[in-house]
Amino acid sequence: MIDETRSPDPAEPLAHHRGSGGVKPLRGIELTGAQILIECWKKEGVEVVFGYPGATTIDIHHYLKESGPRFILTRHEQAAVHAAEGYARVTGKPGVALVTSGPGATNAVTGLAAANLDSIPVIVFSGQVARMMIGNDAFQEVDIVGVTRPITKHNYLVRDTESLARTVKEAFYVASSGRPGAVLVDLPKDVVSGRAEFKYPGRLKLRAYQPHLEPHPKQVAKAVELLKKAQRPVLYAGGGVIMSGASEPLLALAERLQIPVTNTLMGLGGFPGTHPLFLGMLGMHGLYQANMAVQECDLLIAVGARFDDWVTGKLDQFARKAKIIQIDLDPTSIHKRITTEVPLVADARLALASILESLGEAPDYEKKSRPAWLKTIAAWRAEGDAVMDYRKTDPAGCTGATCPVWNPKTKGCRTEPIKPQMVIDTLYQQTKDRDAIIATEVGQHQLWSAQYYLYDKPRRFLTSGGLAVMGFGLPAAMGAQIARPGALVVDIAGDGSILMNIQELVTIVEEKLPIKVIILNNGCLGMVRQSQQLFYGKCYADTMLGRSPDFVKLAEAFGAKGFRAERVEEVAPVIEKGLAAEGPVVMEFIVCQQALVYPMVPAGQDNYHMLPFAQAEAD
């Protein structure tokens, strides 16, 4: 129940407590809610808070300026939450955002949904109108707890100043434990300005929430049995590997039993991208060898991956020759989309470590069959590479006047067109020894970044997988750069998605974050346009962007540097110059509109049906 109390008067004596109905003697140190919140953040090791102030959060900002962690003023609340997510993805620690009530809170909704779908620990603290005003359609009032209920792991409306510290502790615990996720804490203005004794709880034990981490020995034994017998095994590793820090045991398992590994979009970097056993990403835009290997394997070991529809294609045809071992922390992921022979509900790192232990140093497995399996895969890889080699494959036809490379006089390309894949590949060649962090927006450039850039370490590839939010990359790169000030952080964007949070260039310049932004400008919303070309009779409804802003001037207007490449021979020098330049840089590449993201499994098809390959039906 919400106490029906009046808003506290700042001049009110300290001892007057709302809800207590009288004067309470002063005990210990009394702090305001705002001070308590900031003390809690310090106890949780919060280094940075992203956000935007408003009427209901002034008290918090007041103390934050005095003694709080670093505050980053983004220019939109959505960006604040994505930045917090970027920070969380790079550090593994929860990202924190602070927004005001009403529009501040509703602007944070996309960020919450994005973080939650990708299981990233993010906590949003939102202002709320004073308790007595709740439900009155007050100024900037929104029932944000109601709005965010289905898109957060959990959320809270703090009911009094006394319970604030415990609630904050619980929010951090829930967001970062078990399968991590997004949490919202709604803070009524009078709770924040009220006073209470500050006591931070030590360890929390929630009656109803106790994540299960340890693998069951019986299930481990069953998994080991299958692993030893398998002739054509494949490891299918997702974001759970990165979340639980399971890269090391994953690599050990793959090498010990010579099992090839494929990653989901969220899992990239969880297994070294340059490793000979690496197959590349699987799924709708997965590499040929990855999809073929999964379709043809006799044992699929899913680690922290959830058989997303984007990964499986037509479900009843997915890996139908395989027995499946499924390692997942979340029991709801088991038997959700697919029935598995050996479900293993546990933390990925603990489960893999326990499997490795049971296997022993020199395990007795199907060593004879493995070379044949790896040879088959090598043949698929050669077939796949031929299609992925952008130098040798020409996009069929020209899109004409809508293409930024179009010359109306000659009715053709102005110059030899830059292929977008080439930009990513060149970036990779120039940065592969620099341990860069790559953030992306959403669209064709995102998938090319997943295919042509190889990630050898976890927490280096930041992309919005589940919700797939355009406008995610730039703010996520901000969070990443703040977490790792010395690192090279690049946001790869398209000319569509970069405009979804372009205002953050101000924040980047203001905070002196040396982020490099790469824009692949193809004059259209390429991902949708691609589907229109392939499946909608080339009717390009509402995907042609027409005149784009001058991104070089735009960068300069924000106070960043801007470079542009329009010719193939300019690509490498522009990237070199852009990376070498100090401070934030925008590099725009005018690319061919016709380039498509291949391979592609059309919606509703099984993963054998990859365009542009002929159907490779199984025997």
């Binding site: 129940m1 919400i2 707890v145 109601g146 209920r149 289905p150 792991k153 959990h154 409306l157 829930v174 929630l206 009656r207 109803a208 929430y209 979340d330 029991p331 709801t332 088991i334 038997h335 959700k336």
Partner: protein, 172 residues
């Protein structure tokens, strides 16, 4: 049930806090499933409430609903009562047209079904019945012949039966 659908009675133990019922019902409705019956009340521990709900779906859907409910931070325990032996009760209030000629018969029906007459008017009886779903359905069918004017019902509430053990009986 049609299409292999199962009707399930779930007993959901939750934290007694505002918003928890919304989380539970939102989870089920958000996945496009209907709640056929629902009852909520505090337990002996005032910090805990018990939700009894009936929903139906195919076995994988029911499995998902139960797992998703368990995943909610405020849900302490979920028991599928349909798995074992349990007792269930529902309460119904019904106002029946009671003409002079039918009054005796209605009263005897009420007695047979262990009901209670709560209110009497020159042309109606208002009665209370408790029982499992079948019993409630039966009495309503019988009363319908006289003309039911109004009827309200609570959700079903349920509890698992305690297993009888020979040793327990000896000890008594």
């Amino acid at each position: 049930m049609e299409n292999g659908k199962l009707r399930r009675t779930l007993s959901v133990l939750v934290d007694n806090e505002p918003g928890v019922l919304a989380r539970v019902t939102g989870l089920i409705s958000g996945r496009g499933f209907n709640i056929e019956s629902l009852s909520v009340a505090e337990t002996m521990d005032p910090a805990v409430s018990l939700i009894t709900l009936i929903t139906s779906g195919s076995p994988p859907i029911i499995e998902q609903i139960i797992k998703q409910l368990r995943k909610l931070i405020n849900v302490i325990k979920v028991v599928d009562l349909t798995e074992g032996d349990y007792v269930e009760k529902q309460l119904v209030l019904v106002k029946v047209r009671a003409l002079e000629a039918h009054r005796a018969e209605i009263r005897s029906l009420c007695e047979i079904f262990k009901g209670k007459i709560l209110d009497v008017s020159p042309r109606t009886y208002t009665m209370e019945f408790t029982g499992n779903e079948k019993k409630i359905r039966d009495i309503l069918t019988l009363l319908d012949d006289f003309g039911i004017e109004e009827q309200v019902s609570t959700g079903l509430t349920a509890m698992p039966r305690t297993k009888l053990d020979k040793r327990d009986r000896r000890a008594n």
